[in-house]
Each structure stands twice: as C-alpha cells, then as structure tokens.
C-alpha cells in the first residue's frame, strides 16, 4: 500500500476486446448478476418483511411473498415507541464513538513511535501488534468477564468502551503504520532542522498528511464496534444498556411466535447507519480492508 485510498483504476482494459459480446454475456455478466442477486437478496427480504402488514407475512397463497401491498410502518413504530430500541441505538452510537476515539488517539502515538521514532525494540513491538490483531474475542471473553466483574464495571457502557479497543488498537496501529511509512522522511527532517519538536512534527506535519489514513481507521473501527457481539452479550445484563445487535436478538425474540416484522425492522434500522457510512466512504473502507492484508 503506498498512498491514501487507492482509486480503483480502470486502466486494465486487458484483452476483453478479443471476446465477442455474447461470450462475455455468458462468462462475465451473467455470473456477476447471479452473485449480486445472492449477496443482496437477504437485504431485500429484510426490507420487504419490515414493511409488510402481519396478515400478509405468512399468507403466501393470497399474496406474493416477494412483494408487498399496503406497506405499513407499524413494525417500525412498535420498535421506536414500545421497546427500548431507541436507547439501544443511542448506546451503540455512544460506545462505538468513544471506543473509536480512544483507539485512534492511542494508535496514532503507537504507530508514530514504531514507524518513525524507531526506538529500541520497535520492530518487536510492531510484530507484537500484528500478533495482537490475530487474537480473537472468542478466547478472551471469559477472562475479560472476570476482570470486568472485578473492576466493578459489569453491566455498564464503560465495560464495552474499555474492551473494544483490544481489537481496534492493533488494527488501527497496523493500518496507520502503513500510512506513515508512505510519507517521505524528508518532510520530517525539514521540520527538525527548522527546530520543531517531535510533538510538533506529529501534530503539524504528519497528521495533516495522513487524514485519509485516519478516516479509514476511524470508520473501520466504528463499524467493527457497531458490529461487535460477544463482549456486548457477555458484559451487559440490563435492557437499557444493551447494544442494537444484542438487544434485537435477546429482547425482540420472545416465546415461540416470532414477530418477523419487528425483528426485520430492527435488523434493518440497526444496519442502516453503517451502510450509510459505508456508502459515503467506499474507497476508504476498501483501502483499510485491503491495507491490513497487503502489508
């Protein structure tokens, strides 16, 4: 990875001009459309179920399941006014933003120290950060639960704000190390000669140049926090402190009668914020995802 979000360049016309149109239709366009259909259908199904009145939901004989007549907002209204959904939404936003900010700040310092200051042993620390990135939450949640209990922050938002950076900091540091590496050393040397301190160099030279990297790391961290499940499930007990994924699964699913309309509405509303964020920053997402892999 060399620079800020890589633009997907279209210069690789390749040799497609050698293929005839019907041939391309069968070998490229058709399979691609099948892929896109399969990958997007669950979202369509989620959305159409969320606005279906209950009497149409399971009546496949009189109404086509793929379409909706008389769409309704009753499921969404139910979610917003008769459940704790709004507070789950607020919790998720609050926790994700706080965890992202903490992770970004610590990662900027760590990445700068490892990549640019090259203190004694920075190579080993860099390797350690990479290994930390590979530790999955499923083997940490039990000891973390005991620690959370011991610290007296069980069932608080703080429990999640403090534990999410365990997977955000290694990732963001790793990503930012890549960005810092792409910024020429000469700029820093100029600043040093002009009498700038390391702090000033970081704040006034390096950070303005790595804004794209910060955006990538930031939105990616936000999405990872938003999607997190196992910590939120284990560390949070009371309904008003739950996050959206946990709340939808544990509170909207009751008894044997599944209320698919409100479940799908909950899934849809919980997905929309990250999808909207994603649609604005597609290139940043792609560069942060591939950046972590390509380094």
């Amino acid at each position: 990875m060399t620079h800020a979000p890589e633009q997907m360049t279209d210069n690789s016309t390749g040799m497609s001009y050698l293929d005839s149109l019907p041939r391309r239709l069968v070998t490229v366009i058709l399979p691609l459309l099948v892929f896109v259909f399969v990958l997007l259908f669950p979202f369509y199904w989620m959305a159409i179920t969320a606005i279906k009145p209950n009497y149409q939901l399971t009546d496949y004989n009189n109404y086509s399941p793929l379409w909706v007549v008389e769409p309704t907002l009753e499921h969404i209204k139910y979610l917003l006014f008769e459940t704790s959904y709004p507070s789950w939404l607020w919790n998720t936003i609050y926790i994700s933003v706080a965890a992202t900010i903490i992770s970004l700040v610590t990662s900027v310092f760590a990445a700068y120290a490892i990549e640019r200051l090259r203190f004694n042993g920075s190579r080993w620390v860099g390797l350690g950060i990479f290994l930390a990135y590979l530790v999955p939450p499923s083997i940490l949640f039990i000891p973390l639960a005991i620690m959370i209990f011991g610290l007296g922050i069980y069932d608080t938002k703080l429990a999640l704000i403090l534990t999410y950076p365990t997977f955000l900091v290694p990732f963001s540091t790793w990503l930012l190390m890549g960005y810092f590496r792409s910024i020429p050393f000469e700029l820093e040397e100029c600043a040093l000669v002009d009498g700038a301190s390391r702090w000033q160099i970081l704040i006034k030279v390096l950070l303005p140049l790595s804004v794209p990297g910060l955006i990538s790391a930031g939105i990616f961290s936000f999405t990872l926090s938003w999607n997190e499940f196992i910590y939120a499930l284990t560390f949070i007990q009371s309904s008003e402190n739950k996050t959206v994924p946990v709340g939808v699964l544990t509170e909207l699913v009751r008894s044997d009668v599944y209320e698919w309309g409100s479940l799908m509405a909950g899934a849809l509303l919980g997905s929309l914020p990250v999808v909207i964020l994603y649609s604005f920053f597609v290139d940043y997402y792609v560069s942060s995802m591939t950046g972590a892999v390509k380094e």
Partner: protein, 313 residues
C-alpha cells in the same frame, strides 16, 4: 538538538529538551498508552484465560488449581470431540467455498464493464452489515414453514414440501455454512481484487501472443502472482471462521443434536449460562494450537510476499 541561540539556555531546560527530543525515550513515551492498554486488556486476560483453564472457577466462586482435570474431562467428553469435528468441518468447508467463490467473483469484478464501481461497492455490503443482524435475516430465510427458498423451489416444482433447514443435522450444517460463506465472500473477493490489480496486463498480453489459453494464463500467471496475498487472506478467513460465534448463536445455538455446536459456542455455553468459567476457558485455550498454526502460515505468507516484491527481509 543543541540550542544555538543568543541567550544561553538554562541547564535544566536543555536537559529536558534533550530528553524530549531523544528518539528512544520519546518513542517509548508515545508507545505507552497503547502498550499499557494492550498489556492490561489483552495480554493479561490471555494469561488469565490459560490459568483459568487449570482451575475449577465458577461464577461467584473463585476456583482452586486443579491441574489438567478440565482437559482430562474434556478428553473423555464425546460432546467435546463432536464439537471439534464440527468446527473443523465448518472451517474447512466454508473456507474452501469462500476461496473458490471469492476468487471467481474477484476475477469477474476485474473485467472491464459498465457500472464497475457500483458492482464493487454493493458486493461488500454483506461484510459491512452487523453479522448478527444479517444472521437474523437468514434465520427468517431458513424458517421451517415460511422459508422463501422453499417457496421458490415449490413454485418451480422442484420440491413438494418445505425444507427443514435448521431442524435436520445435515441441512443445519449446510445452512450455517452457506450463511457464513455469504458473509465471507466479499472480504475474500475485494482483497483478492486488490491483488489482481497489481498484476500488469502486459504479462497477459505477452502470454496471449505466445499462444497461451485462458486457463494457462490463469494457472501460470494469475495464480502464482496472487499466491502470497491468497495465503494471507485465507489465514484471516480461516482464523475468523474457526473462532466464529455470532452466526451459530443466532441461527441454531448449536442444535439440532449439537450438530452445529462450535468450540466458541460450547465455550460460551459452558462458561456463561452454565457457570463453569474454568471449563469454558479450557475449551477456549484448546483453540489456541489451531490458531498458532494459522498465524505461522500467515507469517510465511507475508515473508514470501515481501521477497517477491523485492524488499529486503
């Protein structure tokens, strides 16, 4: 950094300025917040987890050291071995499918066509949306009575009764693997696409002039050039599939007959609802050897990539 100024700086100031500019000291100072954080919330719990595996800690009662008793009882537990088998089956099947379909999708997206950017953007959606929420959508898609897949197949005349997706051992396994593959394809495809774009088209042109067929170009140019990134992407994919929890917890909770129980879900079930933190931790620790294998694999993949790019070491 000597202060060459007209006024002589006071000794203490230059001392602190010297400290402030020293690479090593300030480097360690900058590293401190992240290091303290990771040591306290990542390294320490990792060690604590290994220790817990040797104790009989339960919720509400601090345990005592019992040696390998947890592991010994797991060795004799047929459910544990079933779960290990399930986890390996799930990981291998899902990873192979993700790789094959993801590579295919990457090759398709690399073609020149209209609305290219749009296609690239929408295929990543399954990966962006919270897994739990898309898994709930799959739960509804896999409903035993009102599944939309059953409905479509009945309409086409392929089957006569709804498929019992999550209620039957083989079907449940296939369904959770399908949902996992659905979510994993975008990651593999977009990462491999980034690798594909670094392959110069002139290699393909030269090969075509020499009379290479499409298959030969794929086999002897694309695949070797892509292999380092494949190694890394698949390591990540295997790692996250092996430790998967969310999808199973939503779709089946391990059922039917524990046929979809994975190591992570069993660990959770024994530790949190079951209360045996020690035993749950032992199951989690049993995942570590597999993870280490994957990480070593990744390490050699990375080394090879650097070597291929001409970087030293």
């Amino acid at each position: 950094m000597a202060n060459v100024t007209a006024t002589e700086p006071s000794p203490s100031r230059s001392f602190w300025a010297g400290i402030g500019q020293g690479r090593h000291v300030i480097g360690i100072l900058f590293m401190l917040p992240a290091a303290v954080f990771l040591l306290f919330f990542l390294t320490y719990p990792l060690g604590l987890g290994v220790w817990l595996g040797f104790t009989d800690t339960r919720i509400g009662s601090p345990g005592v050291f019992i040696g390998l008793e947890n592991y010994a009882s797991l060795m004799g537990d047929s459910l544990f071995w079933l779960v290990v088998f399930n986890t390996i089956l799930y990981t291998v099947a899902a990873s192979i499918l993700k790789f094959a379909l993801g590579l295919w999708l990457a090759l398709l997206l690399n073609e020149n066509m209209p609305f290219k950017a749009f296609f690239r953007a929408v295929v990543l959606l399954p990966w962006v949306v919270p897994t739990v929420l898309s898994a709930i959508a799959f739960w509804w898609i896999f409903d035993s009575q009102y599944s939309i897949i059953s409905w479509a197949l009945i309409k086409m005349g392929l089957i006569s009764a709804p498929i019992n997706f999550l209620g039957d051992v083989a079907n449940a396994r296939a369904s959770v693997i399908a949902a996992n593959v659905w979510r994993g394809i975008p990651f593999v495809a977009i990462s491999l696409l980034a690798g594909l774009q670094t392959i110069s088209p002139s290699l393909h042109e030269a090969a075509t002039l020499d009379g290479a067929t499409n298959w030969q170009r794929f086999r002897y140019i694309t695949l070797p050039m892509l292999s380092p990134i494949i190694a890394v992407v698949m390591t990540f994919s295997v790692l996250f599939t092996f430790t998967d929890f969310q999808l199973i917890y939503v779709l089946t909770r391990g059922g039917p007959l524990n046929s979809t129980h994975l190591m992570a879900t069993l660990s959770f079930q024994r530790a949190i609802p079951g209360g045996s933190l020690g035993e749950g931790a032992a199951i989690a620790v049993a995942m570590i050897p597999f993870l280490l294998g994957a990480i070593l694999f990744s390490y050699f993949g990375l080394q090879r990539r650097k070597w291929q790019q001409g970087g030293a070491d």
